[in-house]
Amino acid sequence: MSKKMYEIVENPIQVERVVEKVTRREAGAITTFIGTVREWTNQKRTIYLEYQAYKPMAVKMLTQIGEEIKMKWENTEVAITHRIGRLDIAEIAVVIAVSSPHRKAAYEANEYAIERIKQIVPIWKKEHWESGETWIGDQLGKVSYPSGQPLSVGKEE
């Protein structure tokens, strides 16, 4: 099909547009996951977020996740759009839509998609707090890297 099912975009995401991509006559259930920018994490207040992606590889990995889902859950269709750049509080960072003839598969496959995104898709989030900024690394058990650590600044080759 000619619709782009897996996209990295720089402008606000329209939920309806992503849902439309998976809407089919044979599907009775569509689930979506919408990830938004949360203001408070534990006691820390986020001012805004900045997402960066390795774009071509991110699209490839999103596509792979979709293929994995279609193998695991029969007759599902998947669309994922992730936004990058600066995002303010309550703005949408990611929309995952899964359609299926039956609802159970639509819920399970959707949750699988977000778990896999957090594992393998090369996208990074930088939290801008009131008190500073940090790149967040979820992949290896919520590791976070305060700027400049654990890497020390060096000179160029």
Partner: protein
């Protein structure tokens, strides 16, 4: 010529998005060693590597014309 891409905190620490240099038949592990020395990076161990947009292992070989990307722990979603 090999192209190496940096992202997130790595990009900030190194101060560039990409570097290019001559090399061939070097493994991912050897390339990491070389970069750690060159940029005085204390560690690249938990940074994954992709060759031409596919995840690669330390023993995989990088060839002329390849694009290597260092992928710090991801945090999308």
């Amino acid at each position: 010529m090999i192209t190496v891409l940096f992202f997130a905190q790595l990009q900030e620490v190194i101060g560039k998005e990409r570097i290019e240099f001559e090399a061939s038949n070097i493994t991912v592990g050897e390339l990491k060693e070389k970069l750690m020395r060159s940029f005085q990076l204390s560690q690249l161990e938990n940074v994954m590597t992709a060759i031409n947009e596919e995840y690669a292992l330390a023993e995989d070989v990088v060839s002329d014309g390849d694009i290597v990307a260092f992928i710090p722990p991801v945090s999308g979603g």
